[in-house]
């Protein structure tokens, strides 16, 4: 398989009067041809910055990038015809209709006029295409954005939060659309916070946290390597969970509390849990290894799982220290 998109050691520091902010800190990413690739990360982790840099909107401070085997930003003008992109809810000039907006883009990019009608049909805006964009709902604008990205029949489609504002039907349509596009040979890079969705449609993912890659690979691989260590613990009915939780935390366990049970995130050796609790006369009634889902892997890797009694601030994330192995081994 060939890499359609390669990023290595990407650096970006924003400078402003308020000081400097290191948004990307040696970020790496590889996307193989024909895949649907999920690009995940907490708010402010650098997803949009990565995509903007890749598409030549902002200048990186270091690192190298290639699209379809060509170095960018140097060769961007040549590959641009094969890349369709939307970056974080693009805005359109409100007084033009969807039809006008797309046909102007088609003109500017030398795309056949028939494509305009085709993509409007594809994203379900056919009957509203003569309305001014100003009058569109959030989801309709998002659909228009996706339509604009598809206009060129790109080989690589980059979508930054395309599901933002879509209704459930729209999300499902988007999912089908992505799959169909990938089957037709298109490579899709998709950033999203809807992890259930990503797990359903993506072949592979890259997870970014604080400007660095913390995990990458096929969805199955990422799940396998990162979540086997999580177990669900239930106590006998009527027994107070709090002493047990304090005890485990004191021993270094990552505990998150649900209403009638709790989970230990880094339980490499579940027997440890029963032993610690039993020594204090607390008996476990349920101890189930959790089947991994992308959400819990994501929370674990990025260190953004909610902690009781704390309000996590946006930049409080785990940086580039993949939590493997874990407690209790």
């Amino acid at each position: 398989m060939t890499a359609v998109l390669e990023i290595a050691g990407l650096q970006k520091t924003y400078r402003s009067r308020k000081g400097v902010r290191r948004a990307l800190d040696g970020f790496d990413m590889t996307v193989e041809a024909g895949q649907v690739h999920g690009f995940l990360g907490p708010n402010g982790s650098g997803k949009t910055t990565t995509l903007r840099t890749l598409l030549g909107l902002i200048k990186p401070n270091g690192g190298r990038m290639a699209i379809l085997g060509r170095e960018v930003p140097e060769s961007l003008p040549e590959v641009a015809g094969q890349v369709g992109a939307i970056v974080e809810s693009p805005q359109f000039f409100g007084n033009f209709t969807a039809q006008d907006t797309l046909s102007l883009l088609a003109d500017a990019g030398g795309v056949r006029k028939e494509r305009v009608v085709a993509v409007l049909e594809l994203v379900g805006l056919r009957d509203r295409s003569k309305d001014r964009v100003k009058t569109y709902s959030l989801g309709m604008k998002q659909r228009l954005a996706v339509a604009s990205a598809l206009l060129k029949e790109p080989k690589l489609l980059i979508l930054d939060e395309p599901a933002n504002g879509l209704d459930p039907g729209g999300i499902r349509e988007m999912r089908t659309l992505m799959r169909n596009l990938a089957e037709s040979g298109m490579t899709v890079v998709l950033s999203s916070h809807i992890l259930g969705e990503i797990q359903l449609i993506c072949d592979s993912v890259t997870i970014i946290s604080a400007g660095r890659r913390v995990a990458a690979g096929s969805v199955a691989d990422v799940l396998k390597t990162h979540t086997s260590s999580s177990v669900k613990v239930g106590l006998e009915a009527g027994v107070d969970m709090r002493p047990a939780i304090e005890l485990l935390r004191a021993n270094g366990a990552q505990v998150s509390v649900e209403h009638d049970h709790f989970t230990v995130g880094n339980a490499g050796n579940p027997a440890q849990i029963t032993r610690i609790l039993a020594e204090r006369g607390i008996y476990v009634s349920e101890l189930t290894p959790m089947s991994a889902d992308l959400e819990s892997v994501f929370l674990e890797l990025t260190g953004t799982a909610p902690v009781e009694g704390q309000n996590r601030q946006v930049d409080q994330t785990a940086a580039a220290t993949p939590a493997s192995g874990g407690w209790g081994q």
């Binding site: 902002i58 200048k59 003008p77 992109a85 693009p90 003109d107 990019g109």
Partner: protein
Amino acid sequence: MSLYSAETRRLTKRRFTKLFILGVTLILAAVAVGMFFTNEKVGPSQIASAQAQAQQDYQRSQEQFGRDMADCRAAQGTDRAGNWPPGCEGMVEPTPDDFQAQWYMPPTFDFLENFPDMVTTLAALLALVAFIVGASFVGAEWSSGGMMNLLLWRPQRLRVLGTKLVALLAFFTALTVVFSAVWTGLFYLIAQARGSTEGLTSGAWQSIGLMELRGLVLVIVAGAVGFGLASLGRHTAMALGVTIGALIVFQFGLGTVLSLAEVKFAEAYLIPIWMIAWMDKEVKVEDYNSCDFSSASGCVPDSLTLTWPMAGGILAGVFVLVVVAAMWTMRSRDVT
């Protein structure tokens, strides 16, 4: 070429553009209609009536003078003498020269003499429209995020901005050429109906043509400056704000300071005088605080002549400065 035609289409599709062009058309039409109705053709009967009126006024003032003189003489030696100049001297007797028939002529539109002002009017209005439309054309694109979309499509920044600018300037060139032609034709007809088209030699036509050409240059520079400022500030309001700020600081503030400081030729630092110099080929600024005495003509104020090449140099300088600055920042800025 595809980008160019898309930009032209975008420009002409905008309601803002349509609205302003419609507005300027209405204003120009009003000016033409006004000129048509306030002027009339001068024939033998108008000349005769003007002469008669001049003669009548001359006689009336002659009689008045006679009465005043008599009153003055009568008052000499009484206590009313204070109301008159001492010895009744210095009372000026009117002469026929003070009542020339030409001042009694109805207004008439003499093409050769009056059309140049109309050319300046047209150029000034079109320049204003070009400035505002140019600023909004790129300003709205920046502030709405349309520029980002366009750059995703064509990741060639200078090319995108340059094409936009060229499309804008080409549009306004065509517009100015068409408007100038119609404007000239219209006033030629008005002159024929309500004045005269005498003295229109080929040389006269040539100088009118050149003046219209200078008007075109003014429109282009105004459009480019509006565009450049709005692109630098990424907002329409930026261009308008900078301009209004510059006008206030330079025209009112600087004007006041300079005249307080009694700087020689203070007007030469102000923008309008340069516009006039450009359109009328030259303008003379005089310093009334000075006196170059000559026995032939007495005291003559110092003067400074601003010529169109000087004004043209300034226009070119502003054009290059703003456009280069806009292109330079476009090259390197982060588009977020």
